[in-house]
């Protein structure tokens, strides 16, 4: 007698769950599309091929930093050093090219240097047992920036071979090269996070570290790897940025760590770990890029831009909190 009714409510509940899951997946995408629609209405210049490519190109560096940051945040950590590591890698690559070392070796060196500094972050966290990733990465943020200034003497190093500039400024059939780089990194990271055991371990560590330890997951080496990848992606971002600017300047990426964190959080990752996707992070990075670009087109001063972006970050996370609360109510 009770069976059919409870069966129906079970079906209704699973239907509602499915809708909520789609909402969660698409919530940020819908917000991004709404923002684009408004900007299209307000400015004739927004929805043009050149401008859209411009948004993509300008978002590329933040997207790469955010993808590294995503891995870190999924483990319930934070990497404050990505902006400074980017600056340091810029200067190292520029210095090497000035010294006559081939462009491709210099580019690889930038990635290697980023990976090395990231590994140091991870080792400081896991071997020195510093209490929270905030601390080693805050230290690295200052050290890397300081070293960048020391090496360069505080001056930008300009004038690179065309081969090096191509990654930042080149195009393949109208599509900017940095966009292609980001797409490749996205594909690799998505497969890494969803299809490899190491990737799944990262979610487990962030979701419940105790459980991860009890299940025999090598937590320390996974954490070190995550910070190394974050640093390596900052090195890759440095190549794009230096190539686009045709110069390696020591103050590149000041404050970039905060934009990358914002992109990850807007993209639906949880600061408490265990939750976060590549696609969400890209949407988050695009949201910030579109906002900057749109406000520029509308002639809003950069001072106001900063204030608007601040409001958007808080709103995005608040909407997510509300959505989660209603979701947990519905499942009870």
């Amino acid at each position: 007698m009770v069976e059919p009714a409870s069966g129906r409510s079970e079906r209704a509940r699973s239907w509602r769950r499915a809708v909520l899951a789609v909402m969660r997946r698409l919530g940020a995408v819908l917000a991004l599309l709404a923002m684009c629609a408004i900007l299209t209405a307000l400015s004739d210049h927004f929805l043009t091929f050149d401008n859209v490519m411009n948004v993509f190109r300008q978002s590329a560096v933040n997207a790469l930093l955010a993808l590294g940051q995503l891995l870190v945040i999924v483990t319930a950590g934070i990497d404050l050093s990505v902006g400074s590591v980017l600056g340091f890698a810029c200067v190292v690559a520029a210095y090497m090219m000035k010294a006559g070392i081939p462009a491709w070796v210099s580019a690889l060196a930038a990635i290697a240097v980023g990976t090395a500094l990231g590994s140091v972050n991870g080792l400081m966290l896991t071997r020195l047992r510093l209490p929270h990733p905030f601390i080693p990465t805050l230290g690295m943020m200052n050290v890397a920036r300081g070293l960048a200034l020391v090496i360069s003497g505080g001056f930008p190093i300009s004038g690179f071979p065309a081969g090096f500039r191509w990654l930042g400024a080149g195009r393949v059939a109208q599509v900017p090269a940095p966009v292609l780089v980001v797409l490749v990194v996205c594909a690799v990271l998505h497969l890494f996070l969803s299809r490899t055991t190491v990737g799944r371990d990262i979610y487990a560590i962030g979701g419940n570290k105790q459980a991860a330890v009890l299940c025999g997951i090598p937590v320390n080496s996974r954490l070190t790897l995550v910070y190394a990848i974050s640093g390596g992606l900052a090195g890759l971002a440095a190549i794009l940025l230096a190539g686009r600017m045709n110069s390696g300047y020591p103050l590149a990426g000041v404050g970039a760590e905060l934009d990358s964190i914002a992109a990850v959080i807007i993209g639906g990752a949880s600061f408490f770990g265990g939750v976060g996707t590549v696609s969400g992070t890209i949407v988050g990075a695009l949201m910030i890029g579109v906002l900057r670009n749109g406000l520029n087109l509308l002639d809003v001063s950069s001072y106001w831009q900063s204030a608007v972006i601040g409001v958007v970050i808080v709103m995005a996370v608040w909407i997510d909190v509300v959505r989660q609360r209603s979701a947990s109510k519905n499942t009870q």
Binding site: R17, L191, S194, R195, T196, T197, G199, R200, D201, Y203, A204, G206, G207, N208, Q210, A211, A212, L214, C215, G216, I217, S270, G273, G274, V275, S328, T331
Partner: protein
């Protein structure tokens, strides 16, 4: 000091072996040794007849020993299937084999007689289903011995029945189970044999058919001499504080009791019976669904601890370090926690009061500026209590007030409790030590699974009676 000493017992294939004993008898310690979490000082373990040495939980798992903890080791944000294969994802040439994870999870659950969507997130599940996920994980790792620590503690009656069904399935498949519990009916319903520990020592191992519930209680309790309290029994006087119909779904249900001025009310029960949740809810620190509170016969509303303090309630929480003290601050600061506002801009007066409290409490220290963590456990507990004495409350709730402190400090705290009652306060003491309850309380309420199982006057309370009520025996 040895927590567990000279214990020998064996588990047969396909056997449910109950491990019984009062709180603090050493059950969990013993099982941590068996599963490799702790290493013993001496002794040998045999697995399939040959001696083995476990250094880490991984060694235990490799042999086929799994521990289903009371605090479940699950990742709430991940799916059921993924939690079952956590740290051991099967892979194929395309990476993690999600199809296989889902198929095998479904099979494992079906083998236990359950269906659960492997793709659901663990955080959406109830406690009973989460427990099932952890048992499935044990089976996925081909466990041959599963240790379950108080598995029914968080479960409802129907869920318990289903768990028992699951356990029967496991037994039929030849899996052995060590079942830690202090609930008598479960032992007789479920277990083939039972091992009793008392004060870390092995009391007996026998077939459950060879012992009666009464005998088992006696084995668990022993012939410990009755505690001689230093507290005078106060006559029942004026009602001070009353709780009516307090309910929080899944934690405690329909709790009503009153406390008189000058009375010490003992709240006995097993760990997990809902006592801490109850008094924290009364104090406005935890939540409740229904229920009313009366002080001096007038209804009061408590939405937060701030309200509770305003009405003259005081709480000494169960976890001194986490809830009672600001660990890296000084003794003086901790004593002033409840009364800083009264001494605003008058730090000297605060120091005088704090100094007086320290002398009254007989805490020995070199300075009020000494970090509170440099004190012994007993003295720390006195500071937690002392911060309320500085403001003077009308109803005190003391949750395990003497847990983990030495005998002399214990006696002093018992004297303090008596003193509070003599001065006309109402005192509610939660304790899992039956001796303590019998020693300090004028009247005893026994809780079992979130309900009040019975009330005993001091005169007709006994250890056996309390254990019976607390374990759900009739």
């Amino acid at each position: 000091m040895a927590v567990v000493r000279d214990v020998s017992f064996d588990v047969r294939p396909g056997e449910v072996h109950a491990l019984a004993g009062a709180n603090g008898a050493g059950k969990s310690t013993l099982m941590n040794i068996v599963s490799g979490v702790l290493t013993p000082d001496s002794g040998t373990m045999f697995w399939d007849g040959s001696p083995v040495e476990l250094k880490t939980p991984a060694d235990g798992r490799a042999l086929g020993i799994s521990f289903v903890h009371q605090e479940l080791a699950l990742v709430p944000q991940l799916s059921v299937g993924e939690n079952v294969f956590l740290g051991r994802h099967p892979v194929n040439r395309w990476g993690v084999a999600w199809d296989e994870i889902h198929r095998r999870t479904r099979e494992l659950l079906a083998a236990m007689g359950h269906t659960l969507d492997p793709a659901r997130l663990v955080k959406e599940l109830g406690v009973a289903e989460q427990q099932l996920v952890e048992i499935a994980r044990a089976l996925a790792s081909e466990a041959r011995l599963i240790i379950m620590d108080e598995p029914t503690a968080p479960l409802s009656g129907a869920e318990t029945t289903r768990l028992f069904g699951t356990i029967s399935e496991l037994r039929a498949r030849g899996v052995s189970i060590i079942y830690i519990t202090h609930r008598l009916p479960e032992i007789f319903q479920l277990a083939d044999r039972v091992t009793v520990l008392r004060d870390g020592r092995h009391v007996l191992t026998c077939d459950t058919s060879a012992i009666t519930p009464e005998e088992l209680v006696r084995k668990m309790v022993g012939d410990a001499p009755a505690f001689v309290g230093g507290v005078q029994p106060a006559g029942r006087s004026r009602e001070l504080f009353r709780v009516v119909g307090f309910t929080a779904a899944g934690k405690f249900e329909d709790i009503s009791f009153d406390v008189n001025a000058g009375e010490v009310l003992g709240l006995a029960g097993l760990v997990g019976a809902g006592r801490t949740e109850l008094i924290e809810a009364i104090f406005g620190f935890g939540t409740h669904d229904r229920g009313a509170l009366y002080l001096d016969g007038t209804q009061i509303r408590i939405r937060s601890p701030f309200d509770a303090v305003r009405h003259g309630l005081a709480l000494v929480p169960d976890d001194r370090k986490a809830k009672g003290l600001v660990a890296n601050a000084s003794v003086g600061f901790n004593l002033g926690l409840t009364s800083h506002h009264q001494f605003l801009l008058r730090p000297r007066r605060l120091r005088e009061s704090a100094g007086r409290a320290v002398r009254d409490l007989r805490v020995t220290l070199s300075s009020l500026d000494q970090p509170v963590t440099t004190l012994s456990g007993g003295n720390q507990q006195k500071i937690v209590l002392g911060k309320w004495l500085l403001v003077g409350a009308r109803v005190y709730f003391l949750d395990e007030p003497t847990r983990g402190i030495d005998v002399s400090a214990k006696a002093e705290i018992h004297n303090l409790i008596g003193g509070l009652a003599r001065d006309g306060a109402g005192v509610v003491v939660v304790s899992s030590e039956i001796d303590e309850i019998l020693g300090v309380a004028d009247r005893i309420l026994v809780m079992h699974r979130g309900r009040i199982a019975g009330e005993l006057a001091r005169a007709n309370a006994s250890e056996e009676r309390i254990v019976e009520l607390a374990t759900g025996g009739e």
